[in-house]
Symmetry: D2
Subunit: 283 residues, 4 copies
């Protein structure tokens, strides 16, 4: 039974592309972290050390910069679509290209109540993500975010769970629910405006988190996913990964103090990790 090359891919990760649009005095900025990868018939590079089919990762980096100028960055999705197309064109041995973009958001610095023309402060909430997977036949776009940290100080319980001989957890009628949310969603059709689509999904996820009573983080994820798919016909599916960032009520009784949901310790590790996809039924 011989030994052979299996799945493989290669590319350039974390190219930090910053694009300023300065056609008018009111500048705009798109701040991206771009990772590209190619897969296909690259066996010669692995087995024989022959690089003739290999588009260097350095060239992939150059292309990422050049396309920020040539094509521009109207949205991370649109940019990734163009870049992935170019990479397949440039590397005939490739059967697939994957372009993953993280976008860091900036907002204008406020001066006398107005956003400044060319001075910005990094908005530190979530990182926006866009991933394009492209083959010679098809293309798929995933939009999303990661590290959106949200918390509810009430409206969350955890009760009625399975118990075994290792169970010591008390039931909770009213607890803090906190998570650092990652989400990705797949499009059935490209939206007209990627930025508007992103903003709408993000806002709906947060509003649903806020307004839904939670009997478990699982229920909250499902509710958020359901709300998004109901409101956005053009989305096929949404997936969440959510660490349950435990906030434990501190026992202040030894100090003669009661603690009716007021003082918590925020724990680092371990954390619950809940992952769920909400999708549409097969027809």
């Amino acid at each position: 039974m011989g030994i052979v090359l299996g799945a493989n891919q290669y590319g350039k990760a974390e190219t930090r592309v910053v694009r300023i649009v300065r056609d008018t005095p009111r500048h705009t900025i798109r701040d991206l972290n771009v990772s590209t990868a190619l897969r296909g018939d690259f066996a010669a590079a692995h087995v024989d050390g022959d690089q003739a089919a290999v588009l260097p990762t350095d060239t992939q980096k150059n292309t990422a910069f050049a396309y920020a100028k040539r094509h521009g960055v109207s949205s991370p999705e649109d940019y990734a679509l163009a870049l992935s197309e170019r990479l397949l064109e440039a590397a005939p041995a490739a059967t697939g290209a994957r372009v993953a973009v993280d976008e860091y958001a900036w907002e204008r610095i406020q001066v006398d109540g107005t956003g400044h023309d060319h001075a910005f402060v990094r908005r530190g909430q979530e990182v926006r993500t866009a991933t394009v997977g492209r083959t010679r036949e098809a293309v798929a776009v995933e939009s999303g975010f990661r590290d959106l940290v949200v918390l509810k100080s009430t409206g969350s319980e955890f009760k009625g769970f399975l118990r075994d001989e290792y169970t010591t957890l008390a039931e909770a009628d009213d607890r803090i629910l906190a998570t650092s949310l990652d989400a990705t969603w797949r499009h059935r059709a490209d939206p007209e405006d990627w930025d508007a689509s992103y903003a709408a999904v993000r806002a709906l996820v947060m509003a649903t988190f806020a307004t839904t009573y939670s009997r478990a983080l699982q229920e909250t994820l499902y509710a958020m996913g359901r709300a998004v798919l109901e409101a956005h016909d053009d989305l096929a599916e949404i997936s969440f990964s959510a660490p349950n960032k435990h906030h434990f009520l501190v026992d202040l009784a030894p100090f003669g103090l009661d603690n009716p949901g007021e003082v918590f310790v925020a724990a680092d590790r371990p954390y619950g990790l809940i992952e769920a996809t909400v999708t549409r039924e097969e027809p």
Copy 2:
């Protein structure tokens, strides 16, 4: 020449205290990372292993939690003032206590255009800081922030610098200026409202960054410090630490593209590091 104990201190670092105020349905949250330290005559613990004078770091942690309830957290400064007083009271051998608080900001999740009562999203810009140093005779408060990431896409040059045989840097007429700003300021008198004072200083630092033409990051720091001291008589001094987060213009000429300040690579390391204090003249 004998061997002796020199400077020493001990305490509990990074106690993650979360305080919810839920007296009404509209909750508020203060999310703190608290570090305490004591110094004084603790030689017996070091030299003889005798802990009789040592208030355990575990007790310091307990006190941090208890004071979040007993005293409350109207501001990180006010809380640190109370906690430091208690620690000196509890540890007779201590001559000084230091309480350093990081505060993570949250904002209300927007639902139908209104901030929700008990659901929050972490605002990810800067971390607010407050440090109280207290001895038996005196107390000093430093307010500040760290990791406020700001960027100007124009209005910055760097020219006319000293050159030697290792200098290769070209002069820059128009560059990106970006930094992740840390600042601390000392109070001559306690403000009536610590939160309002903080917000005013922070806003003024950012507005000055935005509106001041920069001939070097040094000049920008000085301008920000000057503006703050001019506007806030109750402040004695302000210090900045500012990494110059280099954004290098990418050479697109090999690809037949010009690049008039549009496409940059954001570099990680090395970075310039500029530190400056702006203070009041001795009388």
Copy 3:
């Protein structure tokens, strides 16, 4: 077209279990970071908020600690096998359990040329990993490591690659090759001694890295994988993920100095990222 729950799993991540064996004065230590997850029919928890089938993540954590005592940790693989079996037993709704263990290595502190009985220093090279995936029908074990940082100061070239209009990279006859290697391998049969098997694979990967002339990182990965499968009949497959940690030769010519492969700048980002699996031919 209805909206339904898709793939989902939940568990406790990063439980930091430290197990000391102190049956004799010569202690041993196993220092683990344990993550467990269950998948199966947990739709009620998501859709109806009903937790009756949910074994809490807190219980999973308790079980991880209890099994470190009850079953012991003769190796991360053996421990993960036992823990995964227990979790499936405890959660009837689960169809699968996944236990992933990171192990941090310690070595004895040397005192007068001998390893001390109960004092240890963390050995900081790679993190050892073991992952057990178990269903009601089958079990699969993956061993591996991550973050093994290796470097060759010669014996590496990169030439003859595909060029397009965005290619500016010069060919390299003699460069530094450096990577932070992750590897995982699947077993066809359980080895008698998991620790010995791990040590042998790790040593062979490093020796092959050292002694193989590299015409690309791809070729090096393939050579390492081939060597491992040739030497270890009980392994089915090995996969690598290897960032190409670029070390660029610094141009010292402006300073009147030549630089024949002596002074390099170690770059952070971007980096090449090469991933490859070496496997056995289907029979």
Copy 4:
């Protein structure tokens, strides 16, 4: 009362210099992270935006690379001494220069029981540090390390401490003592061999940690410092910063298991933080 510039300094941080010595086929490697800073009369740059006295941080970076070739890196201390001297020479306005070097250690990959000529694996224990502070009149060298993670599984207690109304900690007869040790020491005279001096101090610190019964981390720090100063006449002083990385015994009684010092949870935060200097008596 006017507003003036106070203390200030500037420089280039984290220049990643890798120096290969390849005069023979048996290469050696020094892997450095170099930070330089200048202070002095740089008021014009801050107040007037006049850079005529400012040696750019880019030039400081270039000099760091050039000196790795021109002067070489026989040790981080020796390199920092030379680099600091050059920086003062190049910047007439500077009154002081500070060069701080982190060194990452590599060891040879073992092939058939022998260390390879040009293939290395990163040794991941501590980071070695060297800091040179130089003025026009004097120079001071500090050697040290950080992140040396050590643990004792017995031989440590914590008892007889001060108690107040917030104290809940139980006395411990036999606990795990673990820390991630930082240390710096000042030289009264330059050693002949900086590398040998470093290795001797490091080994003695570890051996003392191993063999000293600990009644508190404070006592352990003092014992280590005392041992080093007693053995090394050429050292003036040594300082430690040591987080007490708590390992809490897990309560297994609810599961019918005893736990005589066998199963622990390694906690992240909060942690004790103990800092102490051991010095020589003033004559």
